[in-house]
Symmetry: C2
Subunit: 337 residues, 2 copies
DNA sequence: CTTGCGTATGAAACCGCTTTCACAGGCTGG
DNA sequence: CCAGCCTGTGAAAGCGGTTTCATACGCAAG
């Protein structure tokens, strides 16, 4: 591996000059500049990233923590983050927190040790207080998928309460009155907000909240499957089911199928997130779209803006959007097959 | 941020000693050791990762390149890699190559610039020659999901030909004779091998290969959907459809549904990969399982072993396994609903 | 013809760690 | 009793960049 000094010797200049040419930090005579570039090419020189980091105190890395690398939900976010980060010539260091407060803390610690220039985190299990403390640390932190009133300008989030309301409202508009809900882990703000939106919509429609219609699960397929079974076992009739995310909805669909219940003829099902596979479920899942890729991009853009000391004007609050497909149907109606 | 020198002053020792305590690179008297540790704690000192990297020429990072961060396929692999890499106290720098030979090259270049200690790459579009050249470079490279005869010990892969054969054989065993195939991009070795396995199985069964039964697509849902439509439009009857991956199978399922064709009563569908959502499709997808998480782990383990100069004894070649669910049915039979 | 300024460049300090080398002191074995 | 060897420690030399500071040069202004 050639060093900057070797390049400088070959180009008959000092190391400083090579550095200046490469970084454009000071004017260099056109002639010198060409010699340097030629030497760089001939030796196929690559600056040593460590040395550069040490000198500049910049790693060029953005630490990213999400819950689960294998989930389509986080995958979409990562994709958005990656696009922006790499466009800025930086890279992502990713680690997952597995939705456990201790593990989340470890993941953040882990990333911080690598001295990233900024952190983009999706932390669900970490309490607000701890989050605020983290955000006071030296490295800029952007929160994704969560809103903290005290750090609003560093949060990219979706109005989940509105989303829950939208989902439930759509079911109500289709004539449903007995609407079950599979909630996410209620220790997560997202899950609570969606549940809250659900209650809100019921209330607005003059319907009483019935906790026998609610089952808490874990945002995973298997959990949704089991939650649906529990709901069914309670023998509290319902004509529609709103799941707090698509993954659980997929599980629920399976549980209903196994129980010989036709969706949407007998029970309508509503998801949340609009992950990629939602449209390929059968029936294609009606759901609430979260613009995950865009949210990832926004988070990255904010982080980069903060790093460069720019005042950021990126959109932070995203609105949920209903995506009507086949799994919800007007009550009483039956689709001809 | 305290430096090692501040710690050393506080503990009344030299910086060397602090370094030795922290890294365990040389024996240190128990008493000194305690003083150092105390000073570290009091100052909440964290070694500067850049300086350390510069001195040791080790970044502690493993570069990982996959095609698509949002796909369940790569997500599972990443998960496996992450587990091993973090257990070894290292981190992942990830970048995606988007299955395009130029972009793949860029992604690798990008990672190499960050001086990772090793590279784990899933490169589909890059030609063998270029791959071999990459593997001759200074940093250890592990190939995942692809086999190069000339670098076998650095490849973690699945026997895809066998997988294609297994899938097709299962359909044959269920009495199917007219079996269509949605292939992946034939520029990818994986896709070619699966197609080859398909031909192989047909041949073994004494059936002629009929290219009208094969449609090439892109490994994505949408592509599978369109490929299935094309196949249907050809009016070449078939009773079973083998898709080279689950994502395309999901799309195909949708196309068949739209065409009013019942799966599996009229046409059986076979996937490949067993990604998470496969079981939640309707009908639940019968598929070929690729142990993606394990393969990711194996790749990481090999990389770490090479780094430590250990002779690795990790399994490299994985065997496909059939997962029978509901989308394939014995020909002529009809499941009671 | 000075003076002064702007431009282009080099020397050297510095970033914070690891590691080599030297050495002191206490033991061991011949 | 002394040579030789451990064990524990410090000083200093890197690692390979960036950046500050000084300087040389050319040219315009006085």
């Amino acid at each position: 591996m050639p060093t900057i000094r070797e390049v400088s010797r070959r180009a008959q200049v000092s190391a400083s000059t090579v550095s200046r040419v490469l970084n454009g930090t000071a004017p260099v005579a056109e002639d010198t500049r060409r010699r340097v570039l030629a030497a760089v090419a001939e030796l196929s020189y690559r600056p040593n990233a460590f040395a550069r980091s040490l000198a500049t105190n910049r790693s060029g890395g953005i630490g990213v923590s999400v819950n689960d690398l294998a989930s389509p939900y986080y995958g979409a976010m990562l994709q958005g983050i990656e696009a922006e980060v790499e466009a800025a010539g930086m890279h992502m260091v990713v680690s997952s927190g597995r939705a456990d407060s201790r593990k989340e803390r470890e993941a953040v610690e882990f990333l911080l040790e690598r001295r990233p220039d900024a952190l983009i985190v999706h932390l669900e299990a970490t309490p607000d207080m701890e989050l605020l403390e983290l955000m006071r640390s030296a490295v800029p932190v952007v929160l994704i998928g969560r809103h903290l009133a005290d750090a609003s300008e560093r949060c990219v989030y979706l109005d989940n309460e509105n989303g829950g309301d939208l989902a439930t409202g759509y079911l109500l508009a289709n004539g449903h009155r007995r609407i079950a809900h599979i909630a996410g882990p209620l220790s997560f703000p997202d899950a609570r907000a969606r549940l809250q939106g659900y209650r809100q919509a019921l209330e607005n429609a003059g319907l009483a909240f019935d906790e026998r219609l609610v089952a808490e699960a874990d945002f995973l397929e298997e959990g949704g499957y089991r939650a649906a079974k529990r709901l069914l076992a309670r023998e509290t009739a319902f004509s529609a089911l709103f799941s707090a995310n698509d993954q659980m909805a997929a599980g629920a669909l399976q549980a209903l199928r196994e129980a010989g219940i036709n969706v949407p003829d007998e029970i309508s099902v509503m998801g949340y997130d609009d992950v990629l596979f939602a449209r390929y479920l059968s029936p294609a899942l009606t759901t609430i779209r979260q613009p995950l890729v865009e949210m990832g991009q926004a988070a990255a853009r904010i982080a980069l803006d903060v790093l460069d000391g720019r005042e950021t004007e990126v959109k932070r609050k995203f609105e949920p959007e209903l995506v009507a497909r086949e799994s919800v149907q007007r009550i009483g109606q039956t689709v001809a097959n």
